[in-house]
């Protein structure tokens, strides 16, 4: 009896076989299904559990060094229990927790600055990078200047930024913009230069004009590098934002970390740091998701590679 039941299963599997093979992520609702499928796959793999173990090890290490062993280097440092209790305290000892509206204001102000700077850097860096990669003449004019300015770290720009711009908002956004702009421009340029010359030749062969080659080959061909650049760009935006906020400004996570340091509110300082980590991760994940959405071909190719 068991055997025949098994045979029945086999038949069902065989009947479904070809359709299962042909099923592929489609535009529209199929895409949602496939991401649900991927989620289920992820939960079934050991990866999420390894990740949880990693976090647990990190917290455990922090707890042991600070609160149990009280190692000398760590004596001034708040332990995880102090930070977490302060973080979720409706009535925080040092005045800031998940329950205080100020907390969200700091997050919002920082995020807004990063967003503005990132969008400006993208709007200028992508076209500039495309031009640099596309026109040798243009590159000869512009690139040496670019390469000379690039090694100057954002912190070195602080005084000039304060002299150039009024108030405290514009200088911070300018500083945040700088590093992002370099990352985006450079990666876009490399993206154009990485395009296999056969694609350009094929397009000309098929009768494309120069302008069409630019839109149909250069822009999509550089796209993977552009998105790598954008992910680096959001990351470095947070770097230089915090540098800027520590120097001037009345709000923002960098400002929060700096003032809680000077006012000896160490748990608040650590809350600021962890929050930066989380917000930074979310923004760069958002860029990655957008990239995958815009580059279906790449996502599918990589998915094929993973299966094989």
């Amino acid at each position: 009896m068991k055997e025949s039941a098994f045979a029945g299963d086999m038949n069902v599997a065989l009947a479904q076989g070809p359709t299962a093979v042909l099923a592929k992520p489609e535009r529209g609702p199929g895409r949602l299904e496939s991401s649900a499928y991927r989620m289920a796959q992820w939960l079934r793999s050991p990866r999420p559990y390894l990740m949880l173990i990693g976090f647990a090890l990190f917290l455990g290490f922090w707890y042991l060094t600070v609160e149990v062993w009280k190692l000398p280097r760590f004596s001034q440092m708040p332990g995880p229990t102090a930070v977490i209790t302060e973080w979720i305290n409706p009535d925080p000892i040092y005045g800031l927790s998940l329950y205080s509206p100020e907390y969200y204001q700091h997050i919002w102000v920082s995020t807004r600055r990063v967003l503005i700077a990132f969008l400006l850097a993208t709007a200028t860096g992508v076209p500039l990078g495309l031009l640099l990669g596309w026109s040798l003449r243009f590159k000869e004019y512009v690139f040496p200047v670019f390469e000379l300015l690039r090694p100057i770290p954002p912190l070195a720009w602080v005084p000039l930024a304060i002299i150039m711009f009024h108030g405290s908002e514009t200088p911070i956004i300018f500083l945040t913009f700088l590093a992002s702009f370099y990352a985006t421009t450079l990666n876009t340029m490399l993206g154009v230069e990485s395009i296999d010359v056969s694609f350009v030749r094929a397009a000309y062969c098929l009768g494309a004009k120069r302008r069409q080659v630019f839109w149909h080959v250069i822009v999509p061909g550089a796209m993977p590098f552009i998105f790598t650049g954008l992910q680096i760009s959001v990351g470095v935006a947070w770097f230089s934002l915090v540098a800027g906020e520590m120097v001037s400004g009345q709000y923002g996570l960098g400002y929060l970390i700096n003032t809680s340091y000077t006012m000896v509110q160490y748990p608040t300082m650590v809350i600021g740091m962890i929050t930066l980590g989380i917000v930074g991760y979310v923004t760069s994940a958002a860029v990655r998701v957008l990239g995958n959405y815009l580059m279906q071909w790449r996502a599918r190719e990589l998915a094929m590679g993973a299966e094989a």
């Binding site: 094929a202 000309y204 098929l206 790449r298």
Partner: protein, 296 residues
Amino acid sequence: MNYEPPRGSPIADARAPALAAQGGCKGAIRIANVVKIYGSEGAGVRAVDDCTFHVPAGKITVVVGPSGCGKTTLLNAIAGFHSITSGTIHLDDALLCGPGRPKADPGPDRIVVFQNGALFPWKTIVENVAFGPIVQGRLSRKAAFEKARMMLAETGLHNLETNYPGEISSGMRRRVEIARALMNDPKVLLLDEPYRALDSLTKSVMHEALLETFDRNRVTIFFITHDLEEAIFLGHHVVIMTTRPCRPKKILTVDIPHPRDYSVLTAKRFREYLDETVEAVHEEALKAFAAGERER
């Protein structure tokens, strides 16, 4: 059988009248005294030297020769990817490149199928195939897509339209690329070792598909390969090149009627052609090897 007996050896003589009118076929290429030197004159690499031969319209001409002898250089000159140093190349009666015009304009009358494939990975199969007529403004988007679907169905690739090139096998990619070329009704297809990376089973399927396509379209085919069996199986004419600098050493007319199928591979005549080719190519390969030794 639509087999025409070969005439003398017309392809050796570039000054022979264009055979364009024959059988209504277009796309004869006349290569005359072409020289290509990379880098500066004198110090540069002489890749092609005083090369003269004729690619007859509506025929498959296969070029074989030692590695690095300058076959791709010649193909690129015909396609218009780079200039020639001297000589002339004509397509039918029009001058592609010659004195005063060192570089031909690339265009949809001569379409290249590349050694490593050049389907745009960011466009779906059907978008790739429809690309030519759309950018040329010859067809509306809708009409071009319709024609592309028909073209793909003809090649037996109809259920792959919405896939991206990265999702299909390399053999299928080559067929799609040829379909993309044929969408433009080219006079000439220029194929640069298109099947080099394929395994021998897929290769034989590709050969039969290519011959079938050729029988349907009667387009002139200029085909570069290292594989001598492939050369004789496909070609009406096989041009054996000398080692660098490249020029024809021997031009073989393969007197086996088209359409051919795989049974010819075992025919006695096929073996004889193969022996003849192997001998000529081997001689050049030895020379190339000796030259390489000397350079060291």
